[in-house]
């Protein structure tokens, strides 16, 4: 059991969110590319140990309408995911900060705030 398991899990979650952000950016950039299919990152079952080895797998997104040019990017879906992802990232980063603050407090034996 590492000293700061929660912190490590949060770190893995942040790494998952940045991967997802990359895929969302890719979907937005290719919104006008003929034949491009929307991609998404599969959420791992756990953000502990095994996540560190492999990057989360990239999958297609089901239930989207394919247009005549073979492209199925829905810009509304991507805008929603973009906002959602940023908010999640902010929450996780804020929690990680709090975790690190606790750790520092323990190192300093609770003397400093």
């Amino acid at each position: 059991m590492p000293v700061n398991q929660t912190g490590m899990d949060l770190g893995n979650f942040l790494s998952y969110l940045s991967q997802r952000q990359e895929v969302i950016s890719s979907n937005i950039a290719n919104a006008d590319t003929p034949g491009y299919k929307t991609r998404d990152v599969e959420m791992p079952i756990s953000f502990s140990a095994e996540f560190q080895e492999a990057r989360a797998t990239v999958v297609g997104a089901p239930g989207l309408v394919t247009r005549n040019d073979g492209n199925n990017v829905s810009i509304d879906r991507e805008a929603r995911l973009l906002a959602e992802n940023t908010l999640k990232f902010n929450v996780a980063a804020q929690s990680l900060r709090a975790q690190l603050k606790n750790l520092r407090s323990a190192i300093e034996e609770g003397r400093a705030s």
């Binding site: 942040l14 790494s15 969110l17 940045s18 991967q19 952000q21 990359e22 895929v23 969302i24 950016s25 890719s26 937005i28 950039a29 290719n30 919104a31 006008d32 590319t33 003929p34 491009y36 991609r39 990057r55 990239v58 810009i75 991507e78 805008a79 973009l82 906002a83 992802n85 940023t86 990232f89 902010n90 980063a93 990680l96 900060r97 690190l100």
Partner: protein, 144 residues
């Protein structure tokens, strides 16, 4: 580092949309051009986009983790080779023997709609870019 490649991807999208807007404005500017260096009237140009991997950071290339998400690039410029529009203007210096002048086949309304679409797509890429920038700033805040 995926956040920095996300920035490169958004930047590639912005670049592609800007190039597309350039081509559209070129079409609009030359809607009545009857002479070109190649001879004949101006021909309408259209951007062709292809999904391409963006150049990742040095560290990512070392660990070979790229290839999951693609940026976009303008791979080709399609030139419209269909017959020009013939207008009857006998007084025009470029009129043929029958008095017809060959004009580029450009629909201004169509070009304006394309321009609007390019501009909106550019904005979407800027939004993604800003979101990633904020995320990186949040990560830097962890050091404080």
């Amino acid at each position: 580092m995926s956040l920095f490649s996300a920035i490169s991807i958004s930047a590639s999208g912005m670049e592609a949309q800007r190039s597309r807007a350039e081509l559209i404005t070129e079409n609009l500017a030359n809607a009545d051009t009857t002479r070109t260096p190649e001879g004949g009237p101006y021909k309408r140009k259209d951007a062709v986009f292809t999904a391409t991997p963006v150049s990742y950071s040095f560290a990512d290339q070392l660990s070979m983790v790229s290839g999951q998400s693609d940026g976009v690039a303008m791979s080709d410029v399609a030139v419209d080779d269909s017959d020009p529009e013939r207008r009857y203007m006998p007084g025009h210096p470029d009129a043929d023997a029958e008095g017809y002048v060959a004009f580029p086949k450009i629909n201004t309304a169509e070009e304006m709609v394309d321009l609007l679409s390019a501009s909106r797509s550019y904005q979407a890429n800027v939004a993604a870019f800003t979101a990633v920038k904020d995320m990186i700033a949040r990560s830097i805040d962890l050091f404080r």
